[in-house]
Symmetry: C2
Subunit: 115 residues, 2 copies
């Protein structure tokens, strides 16, 4: 999986503005932010997408949500609010096939989905 | 929590178009769909939002993602793709304060966030 950019970031082989890392998850700034705060929460091990989750990865999936919550709180978003978006496959616009949660905040999001 | 509309749906006291239910989670159609398929995945027990998750609810949080994946597959979205959105607090537009995952598919979503 050397060619996966998110694997490279997790392993320190590609640069990113890291904000959090533990044994299971890494959080860093999106390179093309759509809001004042736009982070990506990724599992350290390579998982293509939500489609590749199974019963054994349920605790990891839950951990990713909890990490998103805690990092959101650290960034001062707990009260103002934030959105978590997980894209899977072509209709969603998923571009990197290493599972990632977008954590977006710092501005009002009026609509659930853009066009 | 009798006044919570999603608790009422989980308990069969309010009507909704259910598509899935197990001991921990319920899935039903959103009343105001933004796409051909727009479902809500909710925990059966009342949790206000992602902000209210803690270490003990990590397995439940992971289960919600796995349920979303499986229901997406049942709806024929595994290959075409789908988006999962979880809103927390005012900036995100969260309107019902019972944790819910929007599962959206059946059309192309060009942008990550609307205005």
């Amino acid at each position: 999986m050397d060619e996966c950019i998110f694997c490279q970031i997790v392993n320190g082989k590609a640069s990113a503005r890291l904000v959090y890392q533990d044994e299971q998850a890494t959080v860093f700034h999106d390179r093309h932010p759509v809001a004042p705060i736009h982070l990506l929460v990724v599992p350290n091990r390579h998982i293509d997408s939500v489609n590749a989750l199974d019963e054994t990865s349920t605790p990891l999936a839950g951990h990713l949500l909890l990490v998103a919550q805690r990092v959101a709180a650290q960034m001062g978003l707990a009260a103002s609010g934030y959105r978590i978006i997980i894209n899977t496959g072509p209709d969603s616009g998923q571009t990197v096939f290493h599972l990632h949660l977008h954590l977006i905040g710092g501005r009002r999001m009026r609509f659930l989905v853009g066009d």
